[in-house]
Symmetry: C3
Subunit: 212 residues, 3 copies
Amino acid sequence: MAADVTEQLNTVLPDVFRALDLTGVFLNGVLGGTIARQRRFDLAGFVILAIVSALGGGMLRDTLLQAGTPVALTDPYYLGTAMSGALVAFVIPLGGRWWSRTFLVGDALVLGCWAATGSTKALAAGLGVLPAVMLGVITAVGGGMIRDVVVGQPPVIFGGNTLYATSAVLASLVVIGMNGLGEQTLGMGLAIVVGAGLSILAHWRQWSLPYA
Amino acid sequence: MAADVTEQLNTVLPDVFRALDLTGVFLNGVLGGTIARQRRFDLAGFVILAIVSALGGGMLRDTLLQAGTPVALTDPYYLGTAMSGALVAFVIPLGGRWWSRTFLVGDALVLGCWAATGSTKALAAGLGVLPAVMLGVITAVGGGMIRDVVVGQPPVIFGGNTLYATSAVLASLVVIGMNGLGEQTLGMGLAIVVGAGLSILAHWRQWSLPYA
Amino acid sequence: MAADVTEQLNTVLPDVFRALDLTGVFLNGVLGGTIARQRRFDLAGFVILAIVSALGGGMLRDTLLQAGTPVALTDPYYLGTAMSGALVAFVIPLGGRWWSRTFLVGDALVLGCWAATGSTKALAAGLGVLPAVMLGVITAVGGGMIRDVVVGQPPVIFGGNTLYATSAVLASLVVIGMNGLGEQTLGMGLAIVVGAGLSILAHWRQWSLPYA
């Protein structure tokens, strides 16, 4: 019975991950566009910031892994999805409590998904635990970090009360541990739940990392 | 007769592209040095900004494509040409209307040439149309964008009235379309004319992209 | 007798280089953390800036060389050593004359070591002299440059009185020349002495590169 449920989950979850992954590309594209709007950039700025926000982390990961052209360039949906996000942000001035909350929850789910993807790819390339955590974190927060640097503000993940990087570390550790137990798909799912949970909880409770 | 002209163009044009390519490396090296002068950097700053401006876009493209060491490092002329540009900018305080106009026209021609090169390389690596446009744009404007980020100013292509990124997109689309028709060399030439034309026209007429 | 000494040096020096290399990773990790403290970043900022400072140059070099996953990710000690540096800087507020002097000398030795490593790797990949110098300089100063850009300050190597980039160029040229003579190990040692010597001398005598 339990094995049956696992079986079913293993069939359904990859589609869920894929949907979540593309949702993340779209949401971060919108976020990039929103920042372009705040800075009064033109349409080119919207599109470039959307691509950097949505696909920068994965491109950095794949470039470091050196295992072929980044999936951001070979997958037929990624670039178009990121650009759709830019266009939505260009047309609709998003903001307010509704958008903030939707984005917060969506982004938290995506964070865990991307951290898990990055760590899994790193392990598959034969890397150790520390580099696998690092590549998980890069996948999850690298795009936002590059975006912040490009627009000239200190990366948000260097300080704040969202435990964003910490959630990515935790999600990576979960997926790495579950990989060790041979439970790749369930590990992915658990990583998303744990990463999103900590991220949302930290936001709600205003938890922050220690300062020196 | 027409076939004869095409034949002759196909023989001559590659040399023209090569000359234009190296001219672009030199011009952007000079531009990098000019910015180093404005910021009162020392000779090391001149050389590094020249290399970033002139070769950064191509290095980013080749690093993303992951098809071997970037041509900026294997071509025996690129680094020296970029450094010559730095030295010229170090010795001569360039400026004034003459330099602005020469640079504008030269840079517009180079923009189309680089966008076409980037897109052609991407197609040759088996990528689709959107990624090919993206790599064309990166080749044409990536170096300037990295340079802006390094010196701490928002990238010029995020807003302004030159349609710089747009001209690169158009040049990329031209070369991709002509590639589809089997006319690679003529496509390159047409891309340069179209890219440079739009870029110069936009500057002259003060056209800009829409803002949100 | 002389040959005997050379023999002995060739056996001992690689261990010395390895120790110096890891010392450099640790010192630059501490430096990254020190800058995180100045900017009031949280623990995530400490760790990320430490990794960027300590391993960014080597990662940029290996990514450009495209000869496999960067050694920063495959070597089992690098990431942990850089993170140890972050933790030390997090716990101890380093500063004062003692720390400045220790860091100055340590960092000067590391500069030559890293420049030599980068150039040697570039030559081994079949690159020419100019690209080999460039990759030597990137290995030595690239991490600090990326760190400066990430925290939003103009890279220190663009101006100042330490001849930092110049020392890296000189160390690279020494190792490239000695490689030509077939003296790889001694070249490494000489590069460290020459690079560190110029760097410390320039600091002491307040030498600077010419400005335009």
